[in-house]
Symmetry: C2
Subunit: 133 residues, 2 copies
């Protein structure tokens, strides 16, 4: 598929997809015309990329770990190289800490908004189901 369709199927803009390639995150084929040609696996890859970006990882880090991405059911043998594994663990820790900070901030908002038992408010807000984007 071409870049426009991939964009529609992933929610990313064409500009973003070109940027991903520039950062070494995608390696689409090229038609003689110069047009980029993507395949199905790129759809999953883009979703992963966006998820990781949203979690605060930078493109360099994502570039390192993307090769470890399993196609559904396809199990990678050695997770990866040792130092990379350490990096992943650090990112994981970062993410967990970030989640804690978010929880704190949310509690803070809750007290400001007048809720008294912050941890109980969590399950008490079934508002705004899941906006597309």
């Amino acid at each position: 598929m071409r870049i426009g369709e991939l964009a529609r199927r992933t929610g990313a803009t064409p500009r973003a997809l070109r940027y991903y390639e520039e950062q070494g995150l995608l390696r689409p084929e090229r038609r003689p015309s110069g047009y980029r040609e993507y395949d199905e696996r790129d759809v999953d890859a883009v979703h992963a990329i966006r998820t990781l970006f949203a979690a605060g990882l930078n493109s360099a880090t994502i570039a390192e770990i993307l090769p470890g991405l399993p196609s559904p059911g396809h199990r990678r043998p050695g997770p990866t190289c040792p130092e990379l594994l350490a990096g992943l663990a650090r990112e994981r820790t970062r993410i967990t800490r970030q989640m804690d900070e978010l929880a704190s901030a949310r509690d803070l908002l809750d007290t400001i908004m007048g809720a008294q038992a912050p941890s109980e408010v969590i399950r008490a807000r079934p508002q705004a189901p899941a906006a597309p984007r």
Copy 2:
């Protein structure tokens, strides 16, 4: 106290504290010399500010909601104005969504790292207790 001490006690840099003032988040007194003079409540305020920044709120939003900050045990009467309340709710929703995204990213990292049951790995990582910063 002066800016240096507040900085030490909050983990913020003096530069950051001046920036907070510039954004209307703090209103320290001034000595005749021009030196800023902070009080104890500013310590709590700075912690709140940093927490909210860490959660992705911008300074304008924080400036709006900071007046609603209760001193310990001091209950604010009307939570605030109505539209502000809606804004808070939106931020809250944003934060919750962000937490979900972080969870997804973490699960993704887990599968890449070779863990098989992502949701069970969460309680299996008592590493790096709580770095001071």
